[in-house]
């Protein structure tokens, strides 16, 4: 292996750091109509009347659209494979507005000034309805958020709009009630029941949501968008606007971060609509405030968890009940719920009983959607905090409790089969699982044993270590499909065409490395073009930690075919049989005959056996092999202020073969910081009237450079037989452990258990002092 397991610099790195115009807004035609959206100031209201006549009079205004002007067709903007496991409960514009920020009207004008002016002149008469702002009171509330008859779900997802339920799910292995009952009576058994909460984290990708559209010379609609899912965008735009798929092209340029926030459609439907109506180019770039108030957040969740174990630490049962808040629309409602179980529970595969149930409710708040971790981070915080609490209760070292119960290589879990994403999963044996090794290694790296045995106090500051483990997946088994095309050029280089979507992750580079490794050439000779629905083959998109594993497998298969074609053509030229051909990356040989790849390619183009060599392949993951992580966080808690500082953060992972160790490492570091942001800082606050208060970067705080602890990332030797060159995924696994590792460390330092994220100084202070007087 010389092209993989190699820290090659990202193919687009230089262009990005030298500020070349590569992002959507940089590329938009200068004469594009500027789109602005009038958004609802009310959490729940019906538009009684809307008058745009004054707005239309503003000089430079081209178009104003309200719900009366757009097709009333329900959709889901989720950006998932079809049929989606999310309810079709959203309209481009609707008579009802369901949260502060919901779209009321669309203005397109010559420039931003005219568009802003027009927004002010739209007169809306609202009938204000009673909003549902507390998700614990949403179910069966007298206010029904989706009373419309048109909304529906593609298949059974437990959708009950009359009860404000967007999705629901339940599963059980063994008889959990009976096990709980037995445990309660058994003096040799310990049972803990706890309630936890997680918050609606914001993605805060640097580039806001942006898209533009224009009509090409054939009258087709071209949409350029900062999207993670160009093919889903094409399909959904086609469906809602009744434009044939063949008349739409979607292109993704470079993206300044997505983290799941750009899996969904947030502006594309609108730019498409404006351009289709006016036949003029148009663009929509969200303001930061709009990104906060009117895109997606992570699903806030409430968990009730019960764990039962024997006194010797043998885990007997896990029972989890979830209430999740999807906000105004049900995108990703079911799947994030299920992932909270499916990507955590298999960690402890030896239990006698496991149950997972939950409901996802609508509220009149910013909709929730996909976000790195996707339910797993929420579930992991709860399971791994509860395991720590159980260890405490049992008087067992939390590490030993894990070692006694975790899943190991060659084992399976019934959860894999029962819980997929939105439907049944697949049976799977974990072929690569170095979790036990990861645990042992992180214990050693962090000095866990020595440090846990003595508590370190320095004035008002106390240190503590906390431990957590995690798993994730690699794509969605049997659903996510990726494909790749390789084309030989006359200089012996290759074009690699992939639908896969590099959103800053470096996947273009990684896929080129995989192709190069299989072909035996240098990564420099692979020219990648990705994410253009006209020119690149299909890919579901960049989500669910799928690209390296799913798209990478497709690339590898295509490269294999290409190499076979090359050898066949060389054999013809050299008059030998293909299996006599040897190949060293430059020259094809058979005995004393030889031809360089460049000569072969030139001949194929111009003189002999003329043809274009093209190879393609598709791949659907029959399984979704989990990567694993074991993490120890060392924190310092200031007992006088409640401030928590993460000093050191050790994480050891099994991601199979890291195709590009440097890119893999920065994925883990970035995920760690996002996880720490959710753990400690990223507080989401609403006003009593349902307005998001934390709607800019002064109010909503993500960690700064100075908040980065000493992070140690280590990858274990591991090889996933079903992955390309042994690779699994790395994109999400790093975000899962920070919340529990830090919460457990705080407990170990000062003996207070915070069960509600984020763990702000106020909560720690209040817990330490037994409350604050108000």
């Amino acid at each position: 292996m010389d092209q993989v397991k190699k820290s090659i610099i990202k193919k687009d790195a230089f262009a990005l750091i030298s500020g070349m115009p590569v992002y959507t807004d940089d590329l938009a035609p200068k004469d594009a109509l500027v789109i602005k959206i009038l958004r609802s100031p009310h959490p729940f209201a019906r538009i009684k009347n809307i008058d745009v006549s004054e707005a239309l009079k503003v000089k430079g205004v081209e178009l104003v659209l309200t719900h009366k002007d757009v097709p009333r067709k329900p959709i889901t903007r989720a950006g998932q494979g079809y049929p989606e496991p999310s309810p079709y409960d959203k309209f481009i514009l609707d008579e009802y507005v369901r949260y502060v920020g919901d779209e009321v009207a669309i203005v397109a004008a010559e420039d931003e000034f005219a568009a802003e002016e027009a927004l002010k002149k739209i007169k809306v008469d609202y009938e204000i309805l009673e909003p549902v702002l507390d998700f614990e009171e949403a179910e069966c509330n007298t206010s029904i958020i989706h009373p419309e008859k048109e909304a529906f779900s593609q298949f059974d997802i437990g959708y009950m709009p009359e009860k404000n339920i967007a999705a629901s799910y339940s599963m059980e292995v063994g008889d959990v009630d009976k096990l709980i009952e037995e445990c309660e009576k058994d003096p040799d058994c310990v049972l803990i029941k706890r309630r936890y909460y997680t918050q609606a984290q914001a993605h805060v990708m640097l580039e806001p949501h942006a898209s533009f559209a224009y009509i090409d010379l054939h009258g087709r609609l071209v949409i350029v968008s900062s999207t993670q899912t160009p093919f889903h965008v094409r399909r959904q735009v086609s469906m809602v606007l009744d434009i044939p798929i063949k008349s739409i092209r979607v292109i993704k340029p470079r993206i300044g971060g997505g983290f799941g926030g750009k899996q969904a459609l947030h502006g594309e439907l609108i730019t498409a609509l404006v351009t289709w109506k006016t036949k003029k180019p148009s663009k929509l770039v969200y303001t930061r405030r709009e990104v906060f108030e009117a895109t997606y957040t992570r699903h806030p969740m409430r968990f009730d968890i019960t764990l039962g174990a024997k006194k010797d630490g043998t885990l007997k049962l896990i029972d989890v009940e979830v209430l999740s808040d999807t906000g105004a629309y049900g995108e990703h409602a079911l799947t994030t719920l299920m992932v909270a179980g499916s990507k955590t529970l298999p960690l402890y595969n030896k239990v006698e009983g496991v149950r997972f149930r939950g409901k996802v409710v609508y509220t009149n708040k910013v909709p929730a959607g996909a976000y790195r971790g996707y339910g797993a981070i929420q579930g992991n915080f709860v399971l791994e905090s509860a395991m720590d609490e159980l260890a405490q209760e049992l008087g067992i070292d939390p590490v030993d409790l894990r070692l006694k119960n975790v899943i190991r290589e060659g084992e399976t879990s019934p959860i894999f089969k029962i819980m997929g994403e939105g439907r049944e999963g697949v049976e799977m044996i974990v072929r690569s699982c170095k979790l036990e090794e990861a645990i042992k290694r992180v214990v050693e790296l962090s000095g866990w044993k020595e440090k846990r045995s003595k508590s370190e106090r320095n004035g008002s500051k106390v240190r503590g270590l906390g431990f957590a483990i995690a798993m994730q997946g690699s794509g969605i088994a049997n659903i996510d499909m990726a494909s790749a095309i390789l084309k030989l050029n006359d200089d012996g280089s290759f074009n690699l065409l992939v639908g896969a979507t590099d959103l800053g992750t470096g996947s273009d580079t990684i896929l080129a490395q995989i192709a190069a490794e299989e072909l035996g050439v240098s990564t420099d000779d692979i020219i990648v073009y990705s994410s253009d629905t006209d020119l690149t083959p299909f890919d579901t998109g960049a989500y669910a930690s799928s690209t390296t594993y799913v798209s990478g497998n497709a690339v590898r298969l295509a490269a294999k075919k290409m190499l076979k074609l090359i050898k066949e053509e060389a054999a013809k030229m050299l008059n030998v049989s293909p299996d006599e051909i040897t190949w060293d990356g430059k020259v094809l040989r058979a005995g004393d005959k030889e031809i360089s790849l460049k000569d072969l390619a030139t001949k194929l183009y111009y003189t002999e056996n003329q043809k274009q060599l093209v190879a393609d392949a598709s791949f659907v993951g029959p399984e979704s092999p989990p990567p694993y992580a074991a993490t120890i966080a060392e924190v310092e808690v200031d007992t006088e202020t409640g401030k928590v500082d993460v000093l050191k953060y050790y994480t050891v992972l099994d991601i199979g073969t890291p195709i590009n160790p440097n890119l893999a490492k920065v994925q883990v570091e970035g995920a760690t910081m996002q996880g720490l942001g959710m753990t400690l800082y990223e507080d989401v606050k609403y006003s009593g009237t349902g307005r998001l208060l934390t709607n800019n970067l002064m109010y909503y705080k993500i960690p700064s450079r100075l908040d980065v602890p000493e992070i140690h990332v280590e990858f274990l030797e591991s090889y996933e037989p079903t992955g390309p060159f042994g690779a699994k995924s790395v994109a999400e696994i790093g975000i899962d452990t920070p919340p529990a590792a830090v919460a457990n460390a705080i407990y170990s330092a000062v003996g207070v258990r915070i069960r509600e994220l984020p763990i702000t100084p106020e909560k720690v202070f209040s817990a330490l002092k037994g409350g604050m007087k108000s």
């Binding site: 008002s460 100075l706 202070f765």
Partner: protein, 288 residues
């Protein structure tokens, strides 16, 4: 971008500035780190922006024991603390507070005058300046006046400046050597406003030992805790006197809940931090 039209001027003299500032909807600007942010968010929508950075006179900094430190309005925070060692040597608490404003990049543009003129209760440079009895020199086409900083603020974002008046410079009298600390609690370590900021300055620590305290983000304006100062003057720093002192500091505040923190937490910290600073200065042993 800034979603409305306005004109931008950069006068090179005060008289020119006064003339443009007399236009309808004109506002002055220095670093723009408050103003431009607010304009982008449409929280202020001036018709005319008058950039004062190009007026030489506003870039002066001088120090003498008699006249004190005089800081021209257009001097950036980084210039002030990097080019004038006197700030760190003679006004250490002020120096510490400036270093806690935003991030380095912010301080490349931000000015102390802008921090004062913006009149946010969270202005970090203000509490130490209050403890040093700073004054604000205000000028207009009609002349000039000197305002005590403690009398400058009238509410969140509000102050005594009349239309046409601008801050010319800040004068920080020098009394004697001082020690102290600016303790800022913010959610993250950089680029964050204070949840609470406490400046505790001890003027003439080895002589008359005058302990002064002022706070940010705990009241509609930055506040100085005169009652607490009066109480502790000439008293020995014992557990009980420090406790009472801290309580009086706390009582000088009237915090509210906002996106950065709750009123309860601010209230608690208003008592914890003065004690803690005294302890960290080595003047008192005990828990805060």
């Amino acid at each position: 971008m800034i979603p409305f039209r306005f004109s931008y001027h950069k006068p090179s003299s005060l008289s020119e500035a006064f003339e443009i500032l007399s236009e309808d909807g004109a506002v002055p600007m220095l670093g723009g780190t408050d103003l431009v942010v607010k304009m982008r968010a449409k929280r202020v929508t001036p018709k005319v922006v008058v950039d004062l950075k190009f007026i030489d006179e506003l870039h002066n900094v001088s120090f003498s024991e008699d006249e004190g430190l005089v800081i021209g309005a257009a001097v950036t925070m980084n210039e002030l603390i990097e080019d004038f060692a006197v700030v760190k040597e003679r006004f250490p608490v002020f120096y510490q507070a400036i270093k806690k404003v935003g991030a380095y990049q912010t301080r490349n543009r931000a000015t102390v005058a802008g921090n004062i003129a913006n009149s946010s209760p969270a202005a970090d440079s203000v509490p130490p300046l209050l403890t040093y009895n700073a004054k604000v020199k205000v000028v207009s086409a009609d002349g000039e006046r000197l305002v005590e900083l403690k009398d400058f603020f009238t509410g969140p974002g509000r102050n005594v400046l009349k239309p046409g008046e601008i801050i010319h410079s800040i004068i920080v009298p020098y009394e004697s050597p001082s020690i102290g600390m600016y303790y800022k609690i913010s959610r993250i370590k950089a680029v964050d406003l204070s949840t609470i900021g406490v400046a505790l300055t001890i003027i003439d620590p080895d002589g008359k030992r005058d302990i002064r305290v002022a706070l940010a983000s705990v009241a509609p304006t930055p506040v100085r805790a005169f009652k607490a100062e009066d109480y502790i003057r000439d008293k020995e720093l014992s557990a009980s006197s420090v406790e009472r002192f801290a309580e009086l500091v706390q009582e000088s505040t009237s915090p509210i809940t906002d996106a950065r923190g709750s009123k309860e937490y601010r209230w608690e910290m208003a008592k914890v931090l003065p004690k803690r600073i005294l302890r960290e200065l080595g003047l008192f042993e005990g828990v805060a």
